[in-house]
Symmetry: C2
Subunit: 208 residues, 2 copies
C-alpha cells in the first residue's frame, strides 16, 4: 500500500550496530529501541519491524523476547517510568538544599531540559499518561510516576518554607505538569526567563 506522506514518518535507521548485544542485554536493547520508536511515532504506530531496525537486531528477536507487541509496549512504558522515577529521586535529594531564591530557576532549567535535550523522553512520559487513561494495565505505572513527582514537589515545598500539605504537593505537581505539557504542544514556547517568572509566581503562591 502506498503510504501517505506522514509528517511523523519514521526515518529509516542505518542500524549501525557493529557488536550486536546478545542474551538478556539484547532484550534491554530492544526495550530502549521501543522507547525511541514510541517517542517518534507513538505507541499505536509502533511495529516490530520499526523496533528491530532501531535496535539493529533481526525481526525475530523482537518476537523471541516479547510474547506480543502489546507486551513489548507495556514493558517499554514500565521501563521508561522506572528510569525516570529513579532520575526524579536523585533530583529530589538535590532539591532538599534549594532555597526560595533559586528554586524557580532550578525548576525552569529542569523544564527547559525536558523540552529540548530530553524531549523524546518527555513525550513518552506524557504519552504514558494518555495511554494509561485508555489501558488500565498501565495505570499502576502512571500512579507510581505521579507519586514520585509529588514527593519531589513536597521536598521543594519544605525547602522553600511552604506548609507541609499533601494538597499543595499535588497542586504543584499538577501545575508543573500542565505547564510542561502546554509548552510541549505549543508553537511558541516561552524562553527560560519567562518560565522562571511563571514558576516564581507558582512557588510564591504556595510558599509561606
Amino acid at each position: 500500500m502506498p503510504r501517505p506522506a506522514n509528517p511523523i514518518a519514521p526515518q529509516p535507521q542505518p542500524a549501525a550496530k557493529s557488536s550486536a548485544p546478545r542474551g538478556a542485554a539484547r532484550r534491554d536493547c530492544i526495550v530502549d529501541a521501543a522507547l525511541v520508536v514510541i517517542g517518534r511515532v507513538g505507541p499505536d504506530a509502533l511495529t516490530h519491524r520499526l523496533v528491530a531496525a532501531e535496535a539493529g537486531v533481526p525481526l525475530a528477536a523482537t518476537t523471541y523476547w516479547f510474547a506480543s507487541k502489546e507486551a513489548l509496549i507495556l514493558e517499554a512504558f514500565a521501563h521508561a517510568a522506572r528510569r525516570d522515577i529513579a532520575q526524579l529521586e536523585r533530583e529530589t535529594a538535590e532539591a532538599a538544599d534549594w532555597t526560595s531564591a533559586d528554586a524557580a530557576g532550578h525548576l525552569a532549567r529542569s523544564m527547559r531540559a525536558s523540552l529540548t535535550e530530553h524531549r523524546t523522553r518527555t513525550v513518552v512520559d506524557y504519552g504514558l499518561w494518555v495511554e494509561a487513561a485508555r489501558r488500565p494495565a498501565l495505570r499502576p505505572v502512571a500512579d507510581a510516576w505521579s507519586r514520585a513527582c509529588q514527593a519531589f514537589f513536597a521536598t521543594i515545598l519544605e525547602a522553600i518554607g511552604g506548609r507541609r500539605s499533601e494538597h499543595d504537593a499535588r497542586l504543584l505537581t499538577a501545575a508543573f505538569d500542565g505547564l510542561l505539557m502546554d509548552q510541549l504542544a505549543s508553537d511558541h514556547p516561552d524562553d527560560e526567563a519567562r518560565l522562571t517568572a511563571v514558576l516564581e509566581r507558582l512557588l510564591g503562591a504556595f510558599a509561606g
Copy 2:
C-alpha cells in the same frame, strides 16, 4: 484527478429523511465517528475501516470525503477542539457570576463530568496535546484550546477577586489540566468532596 479536488459543502438536505446521512452531513458524521475511534484506540491505531464501521457508512465514503487518513485525523482533532472551545466559552460566560464560596464546587463538578460522562472527549483532548507535541500541524489547534482555557480561568480569577494576572491564569489552567490528567490516568481517582477540597486550596492560593 477523478475525485473533486475541493468538495464544497452542498445544499442542505430537503425535508425527506433517509436512514443514512448524505452529502456534507455524512462528512460530519464521519468526523464524529473518527473522534469516537480516536478516543477508544488512539489516533495512530485509527483505520478507515474502523471509522466507516463506527459511522455506518461504506468504506469508500471515508476516502471520498478525506484526501487521506492523515487529513481525517487532523480534521477530527480540529473539530474536537472547536467543539470543546465553544463549550468552554459558554462556561466562561457562566463563570463570571461565580463566587469565592462556590467556585471550587463548580470546578469539581466540571472535572467530575470530564472523568465520567465526557471521558472519551477528555481522552481525545489530552491525546491532542501529546499528538501536537509530535506533529507541528496540530500545534495551532492545541494553542487555541490553551488560550480558551486561560480565558476561562482568567474569568474565574476575576470573579473570586484574584489579581488580574496573565501568569495566574496560566498557572490555574496548568494546575487544573495536570490534576485532570492525573485523575484520568489513575487507578484511584478522588471523589468529588476531595476534589473540591483540593480545588478550594488551589483557588485560595491565587485569590486575594
